[in-house]
Amino acid sequence: MSGTYLGMPAFPEAAREAVANTTLRGNLRHATHTIRAKRAKAVAEVSDWAGLREAGKQIKDHTLRHLDRYLVQLEESVTAAGGVVHWAADADEANEIVVRLVKTTGESEVVKVKSMATQEIGLNEALQAEGIHAYETDLAELIVQLGKDRPSHILVPAIHRNRGEIRDIFAREMSEWGRPAPEGLTDSPAELAEAARLHLREKFLRAKVGISGANFMVADTGTLVVVESEGNGRMCLTLPETLISVVGIEKVVPTWQDLEVFLQTLPRSSTAERMNPYTSTWTGTTDQDGPSAFHLVLLDNGRTDTLADEVGRQALRCIRCSACLNVCPVYERAGGHAYGSVYPGPIGAILSPQLRGTGSEIDASLPYASSLCGACYEVCPVAIDIPEVLVHLRERVVQGGEVTRAGNKVVLRPAKGHAAERAAMRAARWAFSHAGALRAGQRAASRTRRFHPRTLPGPGRAWSGTRDLPPVPAEPFRDWWQRTHGGKGGAK
């Protein structure tokens, strides 16, 4: 994934810093609580939510089970409709393809629809390195780009910014990139939206190349779907002469009919709307309407590795609604940046370590960035059991084992940081399988219990600093059982 995140500290360190930032916490609390209540209302409006959720899960599972077949079918449909399909095994290859396609047009700037896939591969940086300037046109992406910041939420990448901060960024930075912010810009959201409209309009009107992702790709018709609110997506999808869409291979669905599920569950889960303001669908190219050249770049970049994990593969069902972020108590306090990935929150905690592997410190720490409360699973519109995958990934981090990386099976060594935990578990296993030793140990513990410390020494202090150590009883349970015959023979 993007180089932007290389060298990120592990989640606990990053989170500690974020939690100390009271402005950030205030912003996140306000935004997540606003959307939480609204989502619940939008979902309650449809009586068949459970049926839609189950159907969404099954459609995605079925597609993943036959992913090779549906990808080939999609390629045929898109090609027949006048599009060109490219395949990219990793981020570098996808970036090379896009850079080459843009260079072929002779253009040095592109307009972009918000896209997680292009964030993931670091496309903007790759284009910049070749002298091509990419303008983000989604309001929140614009705020992030102008603020030289990193996204912190899947749906609203600038969720960590409040209106006052946004006003300051616009007033300070817009002139660097094009039309300056209006004089006397206030922090009213309507005025901020107007400023973005004016700033970006000249870029839309002159753009020759648009770059997008897609929410869905329909295999049997070759149709791509982009769901949005502002109209920047429509601008990028229809005004340029060339459209390049970079889409993860897991975004395919088999049939046109399947959209009837996701076009109901996605808007209600993500912006808590019955329907988002704009949805665009296009199939290849249309004569005289929209781009005359359409390129689809199908991106793997760790997705097939994720598919190879029988527990973890359910993460590929994700439709990027971000409902799990909005309900997560950990996300609400730590914010998106602490996750060190374009995919923050609960879904990020299971997706990033699978797409990137658990080799880096941040990725190995992500499966622990959760209290396992399960709220994320409750709200997930495709029923991804995020806690189950988190526990599975924790096990992998601690124990190591066989995984697939870049298509090859490799055996991971247990992570170093968990040596004490592993030693403790090994000792426990030995003790529990040696009855005599266990008995002797328990008796010794009971006899010395008056001398036990109230807090643990050394590294254990962090644990006992917020918890009471369990008191050791005067007599081990087994001894009591034998002495009293299970309590029947005159217990004291």
């Binding site: 306000h30 935004a31 959307i35 049926g51 839609l52 159907a55 099954q58 459609i59 599972d61 079925h62 089970r65 992913l67 090779d68 990808l71 395949w87 990219a88 095994a89 309001l139 929140a140 609203v156 969720i159 409040n162 959201p189 309507a190 901020l192 939206a193 973005a196 309009r201 839309f204 002159r206 609110s229 502002e230 109209g231 429509r234 601008m235 229809t238 005004l239 959209l259 009837e260 599920v261 912006t271 709307e273 019955r274 329907m275 988002n276 303001p277 704009y278 949805t279 665009s280 669908t281 005289q288 309407d289 929209g290 097939t304 590795d305 598919l307 190879a308 909005n326 697939t404 298509g407």
Partner: protein, 216 residues
């Protein structure tokens, strides 16, 4: 080996141990939510359109031209974009300058037009959604995007369906579709909805009834 073969090969290896799935997908969800008469469905469409800040008007076939003329006048529009197949009767009562959408019209030219009048393909009541499919009475996607004022005419009850599943059934995926639910909006500032970003900031919907709507 090229990347296409590499990716397909990785997929097949990844699925080698996956159990077969033979069961058909359980579609235990509703084709529409609740039971309504035709008139109630149209009423729901109007409510949901208005809930997302579209301005809803009603007319019968005879009053349509007068209503559209009034809307353009009230807006103060000096020019109106006209898709090639728009019913000429609809603009019969207005003197506002008509601008035809030509293949060579640039986005900047479209940006100088004040309003656009189109028909639609389908309207979905439960979500308050209008779908345009690029037919001659709706025109190219760009003409309903760049001007800041969009008047969309919905023939009721014929073009109205209850739900998203019913809407998809009526639509042709081969055509470029634009689903519109209220004017352009954003939730990007503190996750609260604000109307009016890049698409038309004013969306007016005219529900034009053809004959009497059955009330039972």
């Amino acid at each position: 080996m090229n990347s296409r073969e590499r990716i397909l090969g990785r997929v097949r290896r990844a699925l080698a141990d996956a159990p077969a799935d033979e069961a058909p997908i359980a579609r235990d969800y509703l084709r529409e939510h609740g039971r309504r008469t035709v008139a109630e469905t149209v009423e729901l469409l109007a409510e949901n359109l208005a809930d997302y800040r579209a301005l809803v008007h009603r007319a019968d076939t005879g009053g349509l031209a007068g209503l559209i003329a009034g809307l353009l006048e009230k807006r103060g529009s000096a020019s109106v974009l006209v898709p090639p197949g728009l019913d000429e009767e609809w603009l019969a009562a207005t003197g506002v300058k008509r601008v035809a959408d030509r293949a060579e019209s640039t986005p900047a030219e479209l940006d100088r037009v004040d309003s656009v009048v189109t028909a639609c393909a389908v309207a979905i009541a439960e979500t308050g959604t209008l779908v345009l499919d690029g037919s001659p009475d709706q025109g190219r996607r760009r003409i309903t995007l760049v001007p800041d004022h969009h008047i969309c005419v919905v023939r009721v009850p014929d073009q109205v369906v209850s739900s998203v599943p019913q809407g998809l059934e009526r639509l042709d995926p081969a055509r470029p579709l634009t689903w519109i639910s209220g004017p352009s909006a954003t939730s990007d500032i503190e996750l609260d909805r604000v109307e009016g970003v890049h698409g038309p900031r004013t969306l007016e919907v005219v529900l034009v009834s053809q004959g009497r709507i059955e009330s039972t």
